[in-house]
């Protein structure tokens, strides 16, 4: 049972790694993804251009690969930021109960903010691009992470060993760092993986709305967006990058729930039921 589960997780992780490796290596072999070639604009997929070319004549396969770098990189970056911030807030809100109530009120208000609008406002304030997307998505995801982590921390603080640390004379911040944080980490890691799936989706949405990374840099999301214009004649321009996002997110979700089965016995039952 456990063996099969681990094997599955390995396969999923392997696939994720493979895609990542592919987008890391491929751009070295492929033509410049940003070099326009107006003569060859809007070609359909062929042997020479496996995914065709876009309106500037840029090779879409090369763009797909370099977009992968950016999309995966952004996803990682966003995940790290949102998870770090969310975990910190969750830890503090869960451990310091009185401050926690206040913090959670703020988090509630935070969640009530329509997220896309928030992203737009950020894109406008900071200018569209990496930074604004990072900020916006971090801000969108932080409260969710904070909530999950907090409920976990609330569970942990009732554990006697947290109290025991106090009896042993340990200060609250040190207790947080030494006893609470390490025991939240597995969950935080799982949360990270699930969050990265969400981040990739929202990264797609933002790029799609033109609020993401600036041109000519490609991302899978803005490739879908760019292909939209030619949906009728060149549906593959939308199909390929979108499918990649779907696949990647699917794998991330699988990895997330797979990891969770290692951490959370209840999730293990769910996995067994699905198996």
């Amino acid at each position: 049972m456990t063996g099969r589960r681990n094997r599955k997780l390995l396969v999923v992780g392997g696939l994720l790694g493979l895609i990542t490796l592919l987008v890391l290596v491929l751009p070295l072999l492929l033509p410049d993804p940003d070099a326009p070639d107006p003569v060859n604009r809007l070609l359909s997929p062929s042997f020479e251009h496996p995914m065709g070319t876009d309106k500037y004549g840029r090779d879409l396969f090369a763009r797909w690969a370099s977009a992968g770098r950016v999309s995966i990189g952004m996803t990682l970056l966003i995940t790290v930021c949102a998870a770090t911030l969310g975990t910190f807030i969750g830890l503090v809100a869960g451990y310091f109960t009185r401050a926690g109530t206040v913090i959670m009120r703020v988090v509630d208000a935070w969640m009530a903010f329509p997220s896309i609008i928030l992203a737009i406002v950020f894109a406008v304030v900071v200018g569209p691009g990496m930074l604004s997307e990072l900020l916006a998505v971090t801000i969108i995801f932080t409260p969710y992470t904070a909530r999950v982590i907090r409920s976990r921390v609330l569970g942990l603080t009732t554990r006697a060993y947290v109290k025991a640390a106090r009896v042993a004379g340990m200060g609250p911040w040190k207790t947080l760092a030494v006893h609470v944080l390490p025991n939240t980490l597995p969950l935080a890691v799982v949360q990270c993986v699930l969050l990265s799936a969400g981040a990739m989706l929202i990264d797609g949405s933002l790029s799609f709305l033109g609020l993401g990374i600036s041109p000519p840099t490609a991302t899978w999301g803005n490739m879908v967006s760019d292909g939209r214009t030619y949906l009728h004649d060149h549906p593959t321009m939308v199909l390929f990058p979108g499918l990649t996002i779907a696949l990647f997110v699917f794998l991330l979700n699988l990895a997330g729930s797979g990891l969770r089965t290692l951490v959370d016995p209840r999730a293990r039952q769910l996995a067994d039921r699905r198996a």
Binding site: A160, Y161, K163, A164, V167, A168, M170, H179
Partner: protein
């Protein structure tokens, strides 16, 4: 022909690679109208056996069962699931330990009762029967009770409903898995009485699972003792209690604390702990812990053989005759080895170690459940308690669940601030505004041992690191000195040095509690608050841990605030005992006085309800 015949039943669950055998070749019989008590320490396979009889285990985990379970000569193990379902409830009823969890929280108990009757047809007959049974299990207003939800009832009420539910379809056999373990002694006494009455009334056979010999003594006709998945001894209750044969049974009987028996010198215990189901032992599974084991015990597994007086036991060197239970009447004059019970003899007699004055702790409760619709109410968990503890004194605090013992303990350990009143511990004042003065000095002086050894140790820290933690925080010891002190502490609580590198999950429950104690000892405290430090442990291990605490007290002159709900235990070891009820300290006195002449009505109830093995007349020469 017996009603229930279990024949060479083995239950295995698939593990990594091989099956783990949870129950091995168990053979038992039960006549109708009889009560069989199955006793044994945690993990000995009692629940697995019961669930295998009613075939509920297969819903939880894939199981491989061999052998037969016959009810009226029908082999249940071979029935197809649909036929088996008709046996459940109608032929075999079952009552579970956690009544609260065992009831559907979202249905009125009336509905749940009706569902148990004839496949849940909601006809008048079912309802009438439900009300009848509710009345029978002691509710004077069954109509109202039937309309309640489980969470609106106390634990005792829930357990009664569970019993009524098991009776709805009129089964011939009732399985009860520790139905009273989660309850207060007083409530437990009521439920046990109810059980006896109901069983007699309905002429049912009953399998009653417990780990408490005292409980078994109260209601069993026959007793079966299980150890590590094996049946080690079975026979008439009186025989087993009066003259246990298997060495394990004898040790178990000996471990049961008794009211009025002073044992400040040490409690009986069984060394070591129950082997895990996966552990391979060629011989008697009890042999490693057995004081009387011979070579044969370690190499060859003893079969269950019939001995005299209808007792069967699986032991190569069975004992005989009564276990040497100390006689309460005699042992009143028992003098402890060290006269710490008499503070006058102590140098620091005049000063007090702990002074609690009119302490009150009020909680704003928000009701149960995770919903926002909770009404706030004030509840005084500790309601004006005053108490002094002298240096080196062992003070026992007893009371029913929810009486505020833990809350008081937390106040003393300054994990919580009193709403009113002052606590002075080791010269440090503690009031509603928090600790006054040097918090580190306070922590050095007052330490706490928690109930659950499992959760009081950080699962990610090694034992060494756990024990070193207070040393790092509260003392200046570092480096080699620190390591030496940790080793010394481990040694002091009787643990090998090598354990320092292990994780809590890699040691047994009893060892974990020792580690927790070593940690509490680390800063050389003057007062240790011990909140039910043994109640999560088996009786045998409980003795080990108690003995350790008593030894430490003797060696270091430690003061103890020892919290427990086990009256017999505390009466046998404490210098003074306080009884709490509803947040108040209703009675304080020496164990002798409390045992002999309880002043408060409630104390009397507690004493009366305390299950115990009353040495049978004549079994004591």
């Amino acid at each position: 022909m017996s009603l229930l015949e279990i024949d060479r039943l083995s239950v295995g669950v698939p593990g990594d690679g091989t099956d783990t055998e949870l129950v091995h070749e168990l053979t038992l019989g039960l006549d109708s109208g009889q009560t069989l008590c199955v006793v044994g320490e945690s993990g000995s396979g009692k629940t697995v056996t019961a669930l295998s009889v009613i075939r509920l285990l297969e819903f939880v985990t894939p199981v491989r069962t061999t052998g037969e379970v016959r009810l009226d000569d029908v082999d249940l193990t071979g029935l197809n699931p649909n036929v088996m379902r008709t046996y459940r409830g109608h032929r075999i009823g079952m009552v579970f330990q956690e009544a609260m969890d065992s009831l559907n929280p979202a249905q009125r108990v009336g509905v749940q009762l009706v569902e148990a009757y004839a496949s849940g047809r909601r006809d008048k007959r079912a309802q009438a029967r439900a009300l009848d049974l509710l009345r029978e299990v002691g509710f004077t207003d069954p109509e109202r009770v039937a309309d309640l939800y489980p969470h609106q009832m106390s634990g005792g009420m829930q357990q009664r409903v569970m019993i009524a539910m098991a009776l709805m379809a009129g089964p011939d056999l009732l399985l009860a898995d520790e139905p009273t373990t989660a309850l207060d002694v007083t409530t437990q006494a009521e439920i046990l009485r109810l059980f006896r009455d109901v069983q007699r009334e309905h002429r049912m056979a009953c399998v009653f699972i417990t780990h408490d010999m005292g409980v078994a003594a109260e209601i069993a006709d026959r007793i079966a003792v299980m150890y590590a998945g094996r049946l080690v001894e079975v026979g008439p209750a009186a025989e087993i209690l009066a003259s246990p044969r298997h060495r394990y049974t004898r040790a178990l009987v000996e471990c049961v604390p008794q009211v009025g028996v002073r044992r400040t010198g040490g409690l009986p215990s069984i060394p070591g702990s129950v082997p895990a189901a996966t552990e391979v032992l060629p011989g008697c599974r009890f042999a490693p812990r057995c004081a009387e084991s011979s070579d044969r015990c370690h190499t060859e597994e003893p079969p269950l053989i019939a001995l005299d007086n209808g007792v069967e036991a699986a032991c190569w060197s069975p004992g005989s005759g009564p276990v040497a239970l100390p006689d309460p009447r005699v042992l009143h004059s028992d003098t402890p080895k060290y006269a710490l019970g008499q503070p006058e003899t102590h140098a620091r007699a005049a000063e007090t170690l702990l002074e609690i004055k009119d302490v009150r702790r009020t909680f704003l409760t928000r009701g149960k459940g995770g919903s926002p619709f909770r009404r706030r109410a004030r509840m005084n968990a500790v309601d004006g308690v005053s108490l002094d503890i002298r240096p080196g004194e062992f003070f026992g605090l007893v009371g029913e669940s929810g009486s505020g013992k833990t809350t008081l303990g937390q106040l003393v350990a300054a994990l919580d601030d009193p709403t009113e009143g002052t606590i002075v511990a080791a010269g440090q004042r503690h009031t509603a505004r928090g600790l006054e003065g040097d918090a580190r000095a306070f922590r050095r002086a007052v330490q706490l041992v928690f109930q659950d050894p499992q959760s009081s140790l950080d699962p990610r820290h090694t034992i060494g690191r756990i024990v070193a933690e207070p040393l790092r925080e509260l003392t200046d010891l570092r480096g080699a000195d620190l390591r030496r002190r940790v080793e010394q502490l481990l040694d002091e609580v009787g643990l090998p040095k090598t354990i320092a590198d292990r994780l809590p999950s890699q040691i047994s429950g009893g060892q974990r509690q020792r580690v927790a104690i070593a940690r509490a000892l680390a800063p050389r405290p003057k007062l240790i608050v011990a909140d039910e430090p043994t109640s999560a442990l088996d009786v045998s291990v409980q003795g080990q841990v108690m003995n350790l605490l008593l030894d430490l007290r003797r060696e270091h002159g430690l003061g103890f605030l020892f919290i427990t709900h086990n009256l017999s235990l505390i009466l046998s070891v404490a210098d003074r005992v306080g009884v709490m009820k509803d947040g108040r300290l209703i009675e304080v006195g020496t164990p002798d006085r409390i045992a002999a002449a309880p002043e408060h009505e409630y104390t009397r109830t507690l004493l009366a309800a305390n299950p115990g093995i009353v040495p049978a007349a004549g079994s004591h020469e």
